[in-house]
C-alpha cells in the first residue's frame, strides 16, 4: 500500500514538473517571437530603403542578420526587378549563399538541405545554380523537389539537361519539372529539341512531352517524325505533343497512326485528332467501331467532338455502339 502511495506521489510530481517545463517552454517561445517581431519592426524601414536602393544595410549582429535574411527571403518570393538583384547581391556579399550551399551539400538532415535549396532560390542567388543542379541527385526527394523549384525560380538555362534527366528518371514530380522548364522558357527549347535525337527512348519521350508544353508550331515536323519512332512510348508522346501544337499538314500522319500496333499510340492519335479539330471523322468512326477499350473510346469521343450528328448517326448501324453512345452523350452535355 505504501509503495502504491509513493508511486502515485512520484507520478504527480513528474506531471507537475512536465507542466512547468511546458509552461517555461511556451514562455520562451513567446519571448523569442516577441524579440523577433521587435527586431523586424526596427529593421523593416532599413530593409525597405535597401530594397529601393536608397541605403545599404548597416552592420548587423548575427541574430539580426538571420532575421533580415528571412525578411529578404519573403521579398525575394514576392518581387521582380531591381530589388531582386539587390537581394541576391546582399546574400552573395554577406556569405549567406556560401553557407547555404555548404548546408545543401553536406548537412546530414534532409529537411535542412531542402530548406537551404528553397532559400537559395528565394534569394535569386545565381552562383548557387551548380550546387542546385548537383542536388537534383540528392537521396532525399524533398531536397530534389526544392532544388527543381529553385532552378525554375532562377531561370537556370544551364539546368535544362539535368532537369530533363530528372524528368526521365522521375526524380521529382513531372508537373514541377515542367513548370521549372517553363520558367526557364525559350532557352530550354534548343536543348529539348536536341534531346529528340537521344539514343535513349525515355529522353526522347520526356523531351516530346515538354516540347508539347513549351514548343510552338515550328516544332511540328520534328515531333511528327517521332510518330515513326521504334519506341511505342515515344510514338504515343509524339501524338500527344502534336495534339497541342500540330497543324493541318499533320492530320494525315496522325490518321496513319490510328492503326499502330500498340493501343496506347492509337488512343493518343485519336485524342490528338479530336483536340486539333481535324476534319477526319470517318477514320475515327471506323476505329471507334473496329477497335476496343481505350482506343475505341478515345476515337468515339474525338469523332463526337468533331461531328456529333455523324457520330450519332453511326450508332444505329454499329455492331459495337457503346462507346459511340457514351461519346455522343458527353458531347451533348459539354
Amino acid at each position: 500500500m505504501e509503495a502504491f502511495a509513493v508511486a502515485v506521489l512520484a507520478l504527480a510530481i513528474a506531471n507537475i514538473l512536465m507542466l512547468i517545463l511546458l509552461v517555461l517552454r511556451r514562455m520562451r517561445l513567446a519571448r523569442d517571437a516577441r524579440r523577433r517581431d521587435e527586431v523586424e519592426e526596427r529593421l523593416r524601414p532599413r530593409v525597405l530603403a535597401f530594397l529601393e536602393g536608397d541605403v545599404l544595410l548597416p552592420r548587423l549582429t548575427p541574430y539580426e542578420q538571420e532575421v533580415v535574411a528571412d525578411m529578404l527571403g519573403v521579398y525575394g518570393r514576392m518581387l521582380r526587378g531591381p530589388s531582386v538583384a539587390r537581394i541576391a547581391a546582399y546574400f552573395e556579399r554577406s556569405g549567406i549563399v556560401e553557407r547555404e550551399l555548404d548546408v545543401l551539400a553536406h548537412d546530414r538532415k534532409p529537411w535542412r538541405r531542402a530548406a537551404a535549396a528553397h532559400r537559395l532560390g528565394d534569394v535569386h542567388a545565381r552562383s548557387s545554380i551548380p550546387g542546385l543542379i548537383g542536388a537534383l541527385d540528392d537521396d532525399s526527394r524533398e531536397v530534389r523537389v526544392a532544388s527543381v523549384r529553385s532552378l525554375g525560380r532562377l531561370g537556370a538555362a544551364d539546368a535544362v539537361d539535368p532537369l530533363l534527366t530528372a524528368f526521365a528518371r522521375a526524380q521529382a514530380p513531372e508537373s514541377l519539372i515542367g513548370w521549372a522548364l517553363l520558367q526557364i522558357g525559350t532557352p530550354a527549347l534548343p536543348r529539348l529539341r536536341a534531346a529528340l535525337d537521344s539514343p535513349e527512348a525515355e529522353y526522347r519521350a520526356s523531351s516530346l512531352q515538354l516540347i508539347g508544353l513549351l514548343g510552338d508550331a515550328s516544332d511540328g515536323d520534328a515531333v511528327e517524325a517521332r510518330l515513326r519512332d521504334s519506341s511505342a512510348v515515344v510514338r504515343a508522346e509524339a501524338a500527344r505533343a502534336l495534339g497541342r501544337l500540330g497543324q493541318p499538314r499533320h492530320f494525315a500522319p496522325l490518321v496513319e497512326v490510328l492503326v499502330d500496333r500498340v493501343p496506347a499510340v492509337r488512343a493518343a492519335a485519336a485524342t490528338a485528332l479530336g483536340r486539333l479539330q481535324a476534319r477526319v471523322v470517318a477514320p475515327l468512326l471506323e476505329v471507334a467501331q473496329r477497335d476496343q477499350f481505350d482506343v475505341a473510346r478515345a476515337a468515339a469521343q474525338a469523332a463526337a467532338a468533331l461531328d456529333v450528328e455523324a457520330t450519332a448517326a453511326a450508332i444505329a448501324s454499329s455492331p459495337n455502339p457503346d462507346h459511340l453512345r457514351e461519346a455522343v452523350d458527353l458531347a451533348l452535355i459539354t
Binding site: 523593416r44 525597405l48 529601393e52 519573403v74 521579398y75 518570393r77 514576392m78 518581387l79 526587378g81 531591381p82
Partner: protein, 128 residues
C-alpha cells in the same frame, strides 16, 4: 483625392505586413499619401471615411477578400468610382477574370516589379 492634401491618397490593403509596407514605402517615396489596412473590412471602413483616390488590394485576405471588397466598393455610391488595382499570387486566367468581373480596374500578379506597380498606379490615376 483626400481632403486637405495635394498628393493623391492611396489605400493599400494586404494582410501580409511585409508586402503592405513595401508597397506603402514605394508610394510614399513617389510622393503619394498612403493609408494602410490589414484586411478587407478595415479597408472598406477606411475607404468610406477617407475616399482615397485609388485602392491597391491583395486578393487573399481574412474576413473580406479582395474580390468581395471590390464588389462592396462598387455597390456603395460613395466609393463606386474609386479605382481598384488587385495584387495577387493567384495567376489563373479565371482568377483574373473574376477580379475584373468584381469591378477591378487593373490586376497585377505576384511576384511583381514595384516599378511596374507604380506605372500602373499612374496610368489608372491618369485615366480618372
Amino acid at each position: 483625392m483626400s481632403a486637405g492634401t495635394s498628393a493623391p491618397c492611396i489605400l493599400v490593403v494586404d494582410d501580409e505586413v511585409d508586402i503592405r509596407e513595401l508597397v506603402a514605402y514605394r508610394l510614399r517615396r513617389s510622393g503619394y499619401e498612403v493609408l494602410e489596412a490589414p484586411n478587407g473590412e478595415d479597408a472598406l471602413a477606411l475607404a468610406l471615411d477617407r475616399r482615397p483616390a485609388l485602392i491597391i488590394a491583395d486578393v487573399m485576405m481574412p474576413r473580406l477578400d479582395g474580390y468581395e471588397l471590390t464588389r462592396r466598393l462598387r455597390a456603395e455610391p460613395a466609393t463606386q468610382t474609386i479605382p481598384v488595382i488587385l495584387l495577387t499570387a493567384r495567376t489563373q486566367e479565371a482568377d483574373v477574370s473574376q477580379g475584373f468581373d468584381a469591378g477591378a480596374d487593373d490586376y497585377l500578379r505576384k511576384p511583381f516589379n514595384p516599378d511596374e506597380l507604380l506605372q500602373r498606379v499612374r496610368a489608372v490615376l491618369g485615366r480618372r
